[in-house]
Each structure stands twice: as C-alpha cells, then as structure tokens.
C-alpha cells in the first residue's frame, strides 16, 4: 500500500449488536448475580491486585456487556481471588464465584 505519511485508526466505537448473548446467558445461569452489578466501583477500589495491574471486576462485567470479551479477561488477569471485593459489594454479589464463572465461560484455559 502506498505510504501517504498518515494512517486511519479503526473506530473506537463499540457495537452492542456484537454482544454475545448466548455466552452471557450461560454466565448468568452459573452466577445470576452478574446482572445485579450497579457499577458502583467498590470492588475496583478495594482490589489488592489493582494497585499493580489494572484489575477491575466492574470493568470486566461492563466489557462483557459491551461485547468485549478479551478485554474483560484482561481486567481479571491480576486477580488473586483474595475476596476483598466480596466483602465490599453492596449488592452482595459472590464476586469470587463470578470471576471464576467468567473465566470458565470466556477464558481460553
């Protein structure tokens, strides 16, 4: 391709039509509380791993809802399953079980 000295970036716009409903329903079957998240950010704020590596359950759930499964897994890579987020979640979500369920449904290993 001719080098014009500039390039075009792909759009950062997310397309919700790409949302993988089937997998998400499967996840919700394993851990129904995934639907209860109200995006308060308590989990992210209390995360011990988050200090060193961008770790956020809230962002992971959101990424799944936005059809960005790879990104969701990235948000959970640093998780050490310490369970602090379970203690702070105001909606009483079993966050550890949720994280494990996400990895089961969307993880490659």
């Amino acid at each position: 391709m001719t080098d014009f000295g500039y390039s075009i970036n792909t759009s950062s716009r997310m397309n919700l039509d790409d949302f993988d409903k089937e997998s998400f329903d499967k996840l919700a079957e394993m851990e129904p509380d995934v639907r209860k998240c109200m995006a308060c950010g308590s989990c992210t704020a209390s995360c011990t791993a988050g200090k060193f590596h961008e770790t956020s359950l809230r962002s992971a759930i959101l990424a799944l809802q936005n059809g960005q499964e790879g990104k969701a897994i990235d948000f959970l890579k640093g998780c050490m399953l310490c369970g602090k987020c379970t203690m702070v979640c105001p909606r009483g979500i079993n966050t550890r079980h949720l994280i494990l369920s996400i990895l089961k449904v969307y993880g490659t290993k």
Partner: protein, 341 residues
C-alpha cells in the same frame, strides 16, 4: 353566606382535594377543560412501583368526589380577585363566587419532537412513554410488532438547558424501569437497553424495582445520554451514545425506541396563571409562598395550589399534596370566615 370553593383542573390532585373539601362540608365545584376527569392518570395503564392498575386509583378518586359539582369541557374565561372572594366566569356562561380557588392544573408532557435528533414524529418506530402506555392499555399498536431489541431514553426534555428545562422530571426514571420490565413481560426474548444519566430511584420500593429490572428481566442499563438516532432501510433504528462507564462511544440497533418525555407546566395552567398574575420559578412551575412549609399556598390569600402545577410529583405525592391543600383551605376559611355556616 356561600361556602363555595372552586377547583381548577380535574386530574388526580383536583379530584382528591375536591372529595376532601366536599366531605369537610364545602360546596365544591370542579372545572375540567377536557371531556373527562382523571388527567394523565386516565391515559395510563399501570403505576410504579408495584404495577397497580391506574384505573383502580382513578375509580377510587371518582368514588371520592361524590356530591362534587363538576363541569367538563369547560375553560376559565376570567377570574377577578375581589375583597374576600373570587369572581370566576366559566366558558359555559356560569359565574361562580368562590371563597377560595385551588389551582390544580397539572402538567403537559414534554413535546418529544422538539428533540429532533431523536426522531420522534420523523421515524416510525420512535415512540414516547405515553404512546407505550397507550399500547399497554389497549394492546394495539401499529409500531410495536414483536421487537427484538428495544431502547429507552431517559431525560427527554429534562435536565436539558437547550430545550429550556434545567430540572429533573422526577417520575420518568421509575416509569422507564417499570415500562422496561413490562415490555420484557410481553417480549421475553427481546434485548432491552435503558440509556440514563443518573438513575433516580428515590422512592420506597423503587430500588427493588431497579434490582428486579436487572436481575429478573436482564435490562441493560447504559450510563450515557443518546446523542442521535437514525433510521435504517428496514425501519430499525441506529442509536448512538457514549457508555460513560467505559468512556467509549457505542452504537446499537433497536426495533423500537421509547422516549421518556418529561413533565412541563401545563399550557392551560399558565393561561389561568396569567389571569391571576401568578409568578413562576425559572422551571416554569408556579411559585409557592415558601419552599418548605407553605407549598400549597400562593402569595394571594385564598388562592391555593395542588399537584404538579408546582413541580413534578408522583401520584402518591400529588394526592398527599391535594390533601394538604384541602386542609389549608379549610383552615383559611375557618380563620377568615368564622360565621360561614
């Protein structure tokens, strides 16, 4: 000596106050400009938070105004403030000398076509909360044909300086969540999106409604205001917004888009307000005597307010406001006309 009280507006506020004042022994008259009582309530199917039939509430209000004289299809032609009463001439030629007047002129829904970027009145499948409620009530609609995906847009005409309304309409959040659950009851397979800026679930049971919408119905709440809507060849709609929680623009196709039109002061009420030279606040609703205690009082002795003519209110709030207004009127008459009976 007469003990006439005139109520302007036959919606929930006017009806509730009329019933109470009648039971308190006043000769109560109600003026309604449309051809039936009940206001917006009469056009609604079910009420948040618990899905009670609107008709049930309306029937109770109707039973409550037993004995009240009411005039339908009637406007106020003029109101003159006399020394200790009001001389009111109605469009049907009747003149009433009233000791007190209660303004219960309510609200108009924001005209959604003013938000042109959402396409109401332009695209077939863009409807309003009132249109959806009419569908729930009648089961009939040309636009709603087994939609696979549905979007709800909060704050249409609210919190929007550009359309001249800075304030929150208060009831649309709970209405949107209620309507979203109801659409899932009808179309369980549909994907439902709710575009909000803040979810203002302030009342008793509202948070439960929100939780139910998420957990039971799987409604997808997206924090971001819809910026524009366009129609595709197949008449479905492309909705653009930002998912502000991930700071990324999003797009999504929907088969039906419901605009949550907000609450604006009724034009007919403004007309009555001008006759009485009533002042209003920047939000367009009538100014009350103060903003904490005297919410049913105007600055004119003998002239009172009830319901949404002084700002957005839920139905229970409106009914409470009407009861308070009736008590205030009773107190006012007792103080100023001790020999009234």
């Amino acid at each position: 000596m007469n003990n006439n009280i005139l109520i302007v507006g036959g919606g929930p506020a006017g009806m509730e106050a009329a019933g109470m004042l009648q039971r308190l022994g006043y000769n109560t008259m109600l003026v309604e400009r449309s051809s039936k009582l009940g206001g917006h309530l009469a056009a609604w199917d079910r009420l948040f938070p618990k899905g009670l039939q609107a008709k049930e509430t309306l029937d109770r209000l109707t039973a409550g105004i037993n004995g009240v004289k009411y005039f339908l299809d009637t406007d106020i032609n003029s109101i003159n403030i006399l020394d200790d009463s009001f001389n009111v001439i109605l469009s049907n030629g009747i003149t009433i000398l009233a000791k007190a007047v209660l303004i219960a002129t309510g609200f108009d829904l924001f005209k959604a076509e003013k938000k042109e970027e959402y396409g109401y009145g332009i695209y077939d499948r863009v409807i309003t909360n009132a249109d959806l409620e009419a569908y729930y009530k009648t089961g009939k609609s040309d636009t709603i044909q087994n939609p696979k995906s549905i979007g709800f847009v909060h704050c249409v005409g609210s919190r929007d300086e550009k359309v001249g309304n800075l304030s929150c309409s208060k009831v649309c959040c709970a209405t949107a969540v209620k309507q979203a659950c109801e659409i899932k009851q009808r179309f369980p397979e549909a994907q439902v999106y709710s575009f909000y800026m803040d979810l203002r679930m302030f009342g008793r049971y509202y948070e439960d409604l929100y939780l139910e919408a998420q957990k039971k119905y799987g409604i997808r709440f997206i924090r971001g205001r819809v910026s524009e809507v366009s129609e595709k060849e197949d008449k479905s709609l492309l909705v653009k917004a930002e998912d502000t929680l991930s700071s990324k623009p999003i797009k999504v196709s929907v088969d039906l888009l419901v605009l949550m039109a907000g609450i604006r002061p009724a034009e007919a009420g403004k007309r009555v307000g001008r006759m009485l030279h009533l002042s209003n606040e920047e939000d367009g609703f009538f100014s009350t005597k103060d903003t904490i205690r005297d919410l049913q009082m105007s600055k004119i002795p003998g002239l009172f307010f009830a319901g949404t003519c002084t700002g957005p209110k839920t139905i229970p709030e409106t009914l409470n406001d009407a009861k308070s207004a009736a008590m205030e009127i009773d107190e006012y008459i007792k103080q100023n006309f001790p020999d009234r009976k």
